[in-house]
Amino acid sequence: MDEILKLLQGNALETRENIAKQLNLPVAEVAKRIAEYEKTGVIRGYQAVLNEDKLDLDTVTAVIEVKVTPQREGGFNHIAERISKFPEVRSAYLMSGAYDLLLFVEGRNLREVAAFVSERLSPLEGVLSTSTHFMLKTYKRLGVLMHQDSPDERLSVSP
């Protein structure tokens, strides 16, 4: 993977200038490549990684396993894209194994998520069954540990 993408994944706010310095590239080259990635959809967006447990949000996240019937044309894509369009669905993946789709669904409370499952998701044509698990606590998200780093244990000057 292009190192520019790696640096942006680590810190999306990193400036073009600093990326250029780290990679020994002209700033214009870095800017050009990033623009290209945005245009071609390799970069789909920039987000902050929040530790939501610290925000007292009173929201709940459910992980839902969904079994579906693939359709004659388009296989799983058609139904998966249809489900993904619901704003409650934060992430959706096609899986191998005992079920087909894995969804991360957010709601204001348990009832809201339950309503989403029973009134919107389950009645969809092609959805065979669902299994819903609620998330209790986040330890790591998108490669970022949610607890603050422990202080540097190293001596302040060493040979």
Partner: protein, 392 residues
């Protein structure tokens, strides 16, 4: 008796007369201050890879808490022999040509003690790691420092050695990639040194602890040059490439006779390296490309950043090619390196180490370690620019 016991006079004169490391003095000052950004730390900021730490816990649970063979676990020696063969180009028999030690520091001490008779001369290049001169003296040797120069990329040349070498010279010590300069040696550079070592019949001790950390060209070891393996003690360890400094685990590879001699000193002073550290090292050797590769990529980006920051602020610095140190010149500010470092610390709360900690010829330079995260490096460079902007 006047009742006052003069202990100072009882201390061995060699030990008494060797000054404490300049690093230590500087550490004492820095440790009294708060919120200092330190570019003075000679160890990785990365955590030891998790699978290595986890395997240490497992080894503890399994009860690997007993003495090991003096040479170290055979399983580890086999793995080391393979690793060295693959990456450094020399074959060592795990049965009698590999010795596991408590860091490269112990291995270096063993090598010198095993080789040196009183008065034997040891050639080494400065600026260098703080322990070299002292270790030579402790072993009863006579240190002969060869000065490497910035204009030469701090590389060692045959001419430099010729100027110092005498018939009494027995050992040549090498350390590339180099702490504190970040210098490396190409194969051609090493071939010239190797030829010289053969001509003068020198034993070579090569400390290659930073071997994995090179950024523009791959590392070459002197043991891969034909004829050198049989007169060289190769030293390496896990501290830098695997961020395992506190484990204290190093090793020496060399001809069986030399390893046997070193093993005797090791046997009677240390017995063996920590069993847990050895278990961790076995695990570390299972996937070096993954563990080390990521860190090297990050160091390279920081090296690029710091080098370009020096250029932007007009600070002269030879391009650091290995280890994680930059060694810029501060000579143009017309003050000793130590004064520069102390003022910079007092005014801007950034710690760099005066070059004189690494030998007299380090005067006029400061060592900046980039083994700290990029945010710290950015901030430190901003402060450095501000600091030198105010100097006359």
């Amino acid at each position: 008796m006047n009742g006052s016991l003069s202990l100072r006079n009882r201390i061995n004169t060699v030990v008494r007369d060797i000054p404490r490391s300049g690093i230590r003095d500087f550490f004492d000052i820095v440790s009294t201050m708060k919120d200092v950004i330190s570019l003075g730390i000679g160890e990785p900021d990365f955590d030891t890879p998790w699978h290595v730490r986890e395997s240490t816990v497992f080894a503890l649970e399994r009860g690997a808490t007993h003495y090991t063979s003096n040479l170290g676990y055979l399983e580890l020696r086999k793995a080391l022999s393979k690793y060295v063969s693959k990456n450094f180009g020399a074959e060592y028999n795990p049965d009698n040509e590999v010795l596991v030690t408590v860091g490269v520091s112990e291995a270096l001490d063993l090598a010198l003690r095993a080789l040196i008779n009183p008065g034997d001369e040891v050639l080494y290049h400065e600026p260098c790691y703080v322990s070299y001169r002292a270790t030579i003296l402790f072993a009863g040797g006579k240190p002969l420092a060869v000065e490497t120069k910035a204009e030469n990329g701090f590389r060692l040349t045959r001419a430099m050695l010729e100027a110092k070498c005498t018939p009494k010279t027995k050992v040549l010590m090498l350390n590339f990639p180099n702490n504190p300069t970040g210098a490396i040696m190409s194969r051609e550079d090493l071939e010239a040194i190797a030829k010289f070592a053969v001509e003068r019949d020198l034993i070579v001790i090569t400390d290659e602890i930073y071997a994995e950390l090179t950024y523009d060209a791959p590392h070459t070891s002197i043991v891969s040059i034909p004829g050198l393996r049989d007169r060289t003690i190769f030293l390496h360890g896990f501290s830098k490439a695997w961020a395992m400094t506190g484990y204290r685990l190093g090793y020496a590879c060399g001809p069986a006779e030399l390893i046997e001699a070193m093993m005797k000193v090791h046997q009677y002073t240390m017995l063996c390296a920590s069993s847990l550290a050895q278990k961790a090292a076995i695990e570390a050797l299972t996937r070096p490309e993954v563990d080390v590769g990521e860190m090297v990529a990050e160091y390279r980006r920081r090296r690029n950043f710091i080098a370009s920051a020096f250029t932007e602020m007009g600070l002269e610095c030879h391009r650091p090619l290995g280890a994680f140190y930059a060694f810029p010149s501060v000579a143009k500010f017309k003050m000793p390196a130590k004064e520069f470092a102390l003022k910079f610390l007092a005014n801007e709360k950034v710690a760099v180490v005066p070059g004189t900690a690494f030998g007299d010829c380090g005067e006029g330079f400061v060592r900046c370690a980039y083994a700290t995260n990029l945010d710290n490096i950015k901030e430190a460079m901003m402060r450095l620019r501000r600091f030198i902007g105010k100097l006359p």
